[in-house]
Symmetry: C2
Subunit: 248 residues, 2 copies
């Protein structure tokens, strides 16, 4: 039984609490959450100094607060992890053993998740702790990857591009079709297939469209249709990058 406490009640903290709460072989000790609880069986503390004994403490706060929070912990030589894609483990105060437990997924409190598919990027200062992180990942049913800081930063950047930017393209498309009295739902089968495709084909092979075949008439028409200056710029830059990549 691994004893875990979670610090923070943002999107990541909220979902890790749910994950640990429902995992056999994990004893969820405490949740440092100043405002939020959703299950009376979870022991919530609202002072860092009130945190009791656990094997692993996971700090789920904004990148710039990791250091401050870790300084305020009143215990030593425990395994303290953060969940950031862009922060080295040595942001954590060295009075404790340090490591990273970065779940490569998008979390919103209002959206349930199948936790078993989340890749966990693990890193630790000490080799023994890495073994503990592997066991912890297995116990919650996730797949772990040993990832160093350079790799993790790149994964985080790639996650921004594949998730945040993609989602933004969805919201932009929604805006465009709704302005013509069309329901965004009409685009959903296409969006679904866009992702199904890359489970079968390399995205380089799956690329289609006017930029892929360098159809300048359509590209000009589309840029004219977009009234917003930034939307025009966005269309232009991605099209140019596709043209450059495929060498038409």
């Amino acid at each position: 039984m691994i004893k875990v406490s979670v610090i923070g009640s943002g999107n990541v903290g909220f979902h890790l609490i749910k994950l640990f709460h429902n995992s056999k072989g994990i004893e969820l000790c405490e949740w440092y959450s100043r405002t939020l609880n959703f299950d009376k069986r979870i022991k919530v503390v609202n002072e860092l100094s009130n945190l009791n004994q656990a094997d692993v403490y996971i700090i789920c706060v904004s990148d710039e607060s990791i250091s401050k929070v870790s300084n305020e912990l009143t215990f030593n030589e425990k395994l303290v992890l953060h969940t950031s894609g862009s922060t080295p483990f040595d942001a954590i105060n060295k009075k404790n053993r340090r490591g990273v437990f970065y779940p490569l997924q998008t979390f919103s409190k209002s959206k349930d998740l199948n936790y078993s598919n989340i890749p966990i990027c693990i890193e630790s200062e000490d080799k023994n702790d890495l073994e503990l992180l592997k066991i912890l990942s297995n116990k919650v049913g996730c797949k772990f990857y040993e990832i160093n800081f350079e790799q993790r930063k790149t994964l985080h950047l790639a996650a921004i591009i594949t998730n945040n930017f993609t989602n933004f393209l969805f919201s932009l498309s929604k805006e465009l079709v709704e302005a013509k009295d069309l329901d965004f739902d009409i685009l959903k089968p296409l969006i679904k297939e866009t992702v199904n495709k890359i489970h079968k084909l390399d995205p380089n092979e799956a690329q289609t469209g006017p930029a892929r075949r360098n159809d300048s008439n359509i590209m000009k028409t589309h840029q004219k249709m977009l009234i917003d200056k930034n939307q025009k710029k966005l269309y232009k830059i991605i099209s140019e990058m596709i043209i450059e990549k495929y060498g038409n």
Copy 2:
């Protein structure tokens, strides 16, 4: 029984042939395909003038060839459709009745599809033909939408953004992670969830990430990490658009 012939053997023609070939209530008459066949039961012709009697002819060629192909048809007063998102139906020679059968999906010959989920955008010059297009869509198990040209152009643009541009972001991410000896597969659960999310949440609500919370440190770091000039520009423009949208 509706008699259909298909003209063209690109990605759309290829998949429409498969769709009609496997649909009850459709008699697939002929396929104008100069190079390709995959089933001996399909009658292929390689001269437009050899096309025989059908109720509906569907032209699946590049936008700029629609007009030329329709001029070369040797029959009159038949229902002739094209499948383009960006072309008015009057690109088709008016010696025949004219309309549009635009499947809002991404097609690659090497990727099988579940045809039942494809939205078909239909339009016709004549009201009676619209009824025939509705029946045709129903017979192949697809959902139809009556869409005028203005709407269809916007749907096509939105399809480019949600499919082509999104897929390009996937290929860019693949390139970035592979340069750090990581497998693109590690990003796939995130990509899958990005799309699952918009089936539950509005994409505006699903938006997360550094630009959403206006975290300038991370955004600067990411732009530094991207060595390619266009990649930097792409990161910057999308981030600025997200910041502008959410008003941080």
